[in-house]
Symmetry: C2
Subunit: 242 residues, 2 copies
């Protein structure tokens, strides 16, 4: 989108003039203490684009047809960690407190802003179970829309494979009812689990028997072209280039 202008909240402006000048859209950032300006802008057709902590951002589309302004973030990201002890074939599972069904699942939770997938898995596993672990791979991705826990937005839920660095369980009594190292083959067959956990247990079992390269998406960090910051890329590992 070209011809987008940004307006300080107190400036005098002319929507008619901007439209005549061929401007496509107007953005209006409003500090929370001046929120009455948001109501005033709404009478001119502005709507909320998003809001963060101490300010809101409004937008008005001036171009032809429907707005082509990009939307704001649509997904929350949750990550669970399947900590697998390869020497015993056991995996770390928890039962949530305050749930009706006592289902075994992998510890996990929502990513903090700016947190990498693997870091969320390692952090949540430690917070819930007291077990330290290391990221190995991404195993599975679930997408779900109009998620009740996501303020009616979408949810992306990723399950990672982790390796244990410590083994002693010291689970969080606020979050967990039980926490155990459970045999992967048992987890793949039990009815006391969720469909997605059982599925990942079958993946882990297959990996134990046939090699983890059959189930893993490995991660690599590459530099972003424009910012120089690193991004994380996940896909099936390819054999080394000949």
């Amino acid at each position: 989108i070209t011809n987008v202008i940004q307006v300080p909240s107190k400036s005098h402006y002319s929507l008619v003039q901007w439209k005549a000048d061929g401007k496509m859209a107007v953005w209006l950032q409003v500090p929370i203490s001046l929120s009455r300006c948001a109501a005033a802008a709404a009478t001119h057709g502005f709507t909320f684009h998003h809001a963060k902590s101490d300010h809101s951002m409004l937008a008005l589309w001036l171009g032809e047809g429907e707005s082509r302004l990009p939307g704001f973030a649509t997904h929350q990201v949750g990550v669970a960690g399947a900590v697998l002890d390869e020497s015993t074939g056991k995996v770390l599972v928890v039962q949530d407190k305050n749930k009706t069904k006592n289902a075994w699942k992998f510890p996990g939770g929502l990513s903090d802003p700016g947190e990498n997938i693997g870091s969320t898995a390692v952090r949540e596993v430690f917070e819930e179970t007291g077990v330290r672990s290391k990221f190995r791979s991404l195993l599975s991705i679930r997408q779900q829309h109009r998620h009740p826990g996501a303020f009616d937005m979408s949810d992306m839920y990723l399950i990672c494979r982790l390796s244990p660095l410590t083994y002693d369980i010291n689970f969080c009594p606020h979050e967990c009812l039980r926490c155990e190292w459970l045999s992967v083959s048992e987890l793949a067959e039990t009815s006391s689990t969720t469909p997605i956990t059982a599925r990942v247990a079958r993946l882990l079992l297959y990996g134990l028997e046939h090699g983890f390269d059959k189930i893993d998406l490995t991660m690599e960090e590459l530099p972003a072209v424009y910012s120089g910051m690193l991004y994380q890329l996940y896909h099936r590992q390819l054999p080394a280039k000949s």
Copy 2:
């Protein structure tokens, strides 16, 4: 989080009383036309949690320590489609208009709210190139934080493998400078592409030579427990259960 209360914007309320009652948090939904209430609430410590179109949502944490309220959506989701013609080994690529470097890449764009990954890929490919296609698998996931095009939020970028249903190119002149069916082996080697596109070209080449089960994450739809709505689950395909 238990003990969360929701307040109509005009009701009289007592934060002191609620805190004494052990309430953990207060949510305040404010219509855009009454935004002056957001400024008033801010003087009591409320901050914006999020805003959508015609209303904002504010929150105030009353509990001990840092807020444990879940945050709002943190990621935008973008999807690209690698439409691979298996009979010719060619893949559909575009060059973006208005970019300095003329790099070949896969057509794609941001997901609309509530849109599945595969649907975004198929829609964006059609809008940019005029080619109809069918979702086959998920190939790669990239996570990037503080993304300039995402209002400083995070970006999740997924690349799908698609099969062509039509072959004639009729590309969008507003978005694309060029559009071609290019040999995958050429795309894997050329310098006129992005690192991530070259990587996916190598994946596709490997799939063509050794079978797509070696590179694909296949998708399955499962019913969500609480809502009955379907969710999409992606992982390496397992052999059929014996």
